[in-house]
């Protein structure tokens, strides 16, 4: 197998305090990986950097033959304005952004893709509804339809099943499994360990430092989870410069 995304001595920092510290590893092409760890452990920070929304403080992300913008990314729901007057159809059609860009109109093929995706997630008949009228679970289904329409080789999900009912969760997990079977690479930030054990072959345990990364059964040991929980969440104000960074690369301020 070949790696599609690699992290090389990756450190990502907020105001110089590392949220992800010296992480080395690789996401194989076609792998289905869960990212787990304590709150504040850097999971969201890691995936934001993978999709190019944040820059590493040191080290690098290698995306082999892949532009950051080619990765389909589902952020945590809080980033979205759900009261915005936009229809379900148009929301899903945004998945075609890379094909449509600023000016091109949607072709019959684009529209058919949207209709098909809505059918797949069980939202047929919701096309003209405004997104503000959807329930949380329905809205998450619509966002998954947008991911379907993006038709990306690499899909990154940040807490995709938060506050979603169990029925919707199992439908959406089935969709993730289908992506895996289609040979797409999927990376998902999750916190339900049982769900990870059942559906995700690979797991990355992150607690600022990389705790473990590999086949789920081998990685999700009580020992690894205990170590992850033991991470000190607070920054140390007196922290000195990391010794590994002294040798270091160009200094860069985080936005």
């Amino acid at each position: 197998m070949s790696a599609v995304i690699e992290t090389v001595d990756l450190t990502i920092a907020y105001d110089r305090h590392p949220a992800v510290h010296h992480v080395n590893g690789r996401f194989e092409a076609g792998s289905l990986t869960a990212v787990v760890g304590p709150n504040g452990g850097g999971k969201s920070t890691l995936v934001k950097t993978i999709v190019g929304l944040m820059a590493p403080a040191s080290g690098q992300i290698l995306r082999h033959g892949l532009a950051a913008a080619e990765i389909a990314y589902l952020p945590q729901q809080a980033d979205l304005d759900r009261s915005f007057p936009i229809s379900v159809f148009d929301t899903v059609l945004l998945g075609r952004w890379r094909r449509l860009g600023l000016f091109r109109g949607a072709s019959a093929q684009d529209r058919a893709a949207v209709v098909g995706a809505l059918a797949t997630v069980g939202l047929t008949g919701f096309e003209t509804r405004l997104i503000g009228t959807l329930s949380t679970g329905q809205f998450q289904r619509a966002l998954f339809a947008r991911l379907l329409v993006q038709d990306a080789r690499v899909i990154v999900l940040d807490e995709p099943f938060n506050a979603v009912d169990s029925n919707t969760t199992s439908d959406l997990v089935a969709l993730v499994t289908r992506w895996h079977q289609e040979g797409r690479t999927v990376i998902a930030v999750l916190h339900d360990i049982e769900q990870v054990r059942r559906h995700f072959p690979e797991t990355l345990v992150l607690a600022r430092e990389l705790i473990a990364w590999g086949p789920t059964a081998a990685v999700l040991t009580p020992e690894a989870l205990r170590r992850a929980r033991g991470m000190a969440e607070a920054w140390s104000r007196e922290a000195g410069v990391c010794s590994a960074a002294v040798a270091a690369a160009p200094l860069r301020r985080q936005a």
């Binding site: 999709v51 190019g52 929304l53 532009a67 950051a68 913008a69 990765i71 990314y73 952020p75 980033d79 979205l80 304005d81 915005f84 007057p85 936009i86 229809s87 929301t91 945004l94 952004w97 890379r98 600023l102 000016f103 405004l130 936005a255």
Partner: protein, 289 residues
């Protein structure tokens, strides 16, 4: 009778005709801008920007007297400086947009008041603050129309990223659609429209023709494009009726126009078909599915 009330002033007087055309042109540009500001939760940013143009207008006034051109140009420079600085601070520091705008517009406003006070009080200054729409000359009419045209053209070009950025900014950035540049361009358009409106309505009233019709439109239409169309219509109606009120009752034109727009807003809020107050209060039988 109705003719004398609603039409005749415009037939009889060229300055009323020019004022009316200026209002229509302003409504075309300001309507959709106001809707975008509202949807981006930047309604008060428009207000901040209208104060930010004051020192520029004051400098123009001190240099060239009551020249719409000089004051407009000064206002444009001051407004753009504040918009770009605030935009830059928002993008590069921890301050949110509302906070960074508050910071710069307050500095700008204080600077404007100090500049004005160096020449002592002046009756003409009332025109700066409350507008001179009844003195719109053909040249400023052309300026206003040109800004409206430019606004509609640019809005048409950047409509898609603007809408997506308001709705889901991190998605737009993740798919490589940009973000910052559309935002800056949008802020430039806000300033341009405020300067256009400021010529006619004065610094304090300019933002009224931008925000009030947009707020009314929220209760009249559901989609972004229909909201923009509704805001244009409400703005044009406010201009027409406001000018008539000002003419018949001998009131200052700017505030009269904005007050009519305010009445439109409150009426839309009460009677509007989309989430209007009456709609919510009147019991209606629920549907089968």
């Amino acid at each position: 009778m109705i003719y004398a009330l609603l039409i005749e002033p415009f037939v009889d007087f060229a300055f009323m005709r020019r004022a009316l055309v200026a209002c229509f042109a302003l409504s075309l540009g300001c309507g959709p801008m106001g809707v975008m500001l509202m949807l981006r939760r930047m309604s008060l940013v428009g207000d901040a920007m209208s104060h930010a143009v004051l020192p520029g207008a004051a400098v123009g006034f001190l240099v060239a007297g009551l020249s719409l051109w000089a004051m407009g140009l000064g206002g444009l420079v001051a407004g753009l400086a504040v918009a770009l600085l605030a935009g830059l601070v928002t993008r590069t520091t921890a301050l949110k947009e509302d906070a960074s705008f508050a910071g710069f517009y307050l500095i700008s406003l204080a600077l404007g008041v100090i500049l004005v006070s160096t020449r002592g009080s002046n009756v003409d200054l009332l025109h700066v603050l409350f507008g001179t729409i009844l003195a719109v000359d053909p040249w400023s009419l052309i300026t206003v129309a040109a800004i409206a045209t430019l606004t509609l053209g640019i809005l048409a070009l950047i409509y898609r990223p603007l809408v997506v950025e308001a709705f889901d900014p991190s998605y737009l950035r993740a798919v490589g659609g940009g973000g910052g540049r559309w935002h800056i361009l949008f802020l430039v358009l806000v300033v341009l429209n405020l300067v256009a409106a400021f010529q006619a309505l004065g610094t304090l009233m300019a933002v009224g023709l931008m925000m009030l019709p947009a707020l009314a439109a929220r209760f009249l239409a559901r989609a972004v494009w229909s909201m923009a169309a509704a805001a244009m219509a409400v703005g044009a109606l406010s201009g027409w009726l406001g000018l008539l009120v000002s003419y018949h009752y001998d009131l200052p034109s700017g505030p009269a126009i904005i007050l009519v727009a305010g009445i439109c807003y409150v009426s839309a809020m009460v009677f509007g078909p989309v989430d209007g107050v009456l709609r919510r209060l009147l019991p209606r039988r629920h549907l089968a599915a």
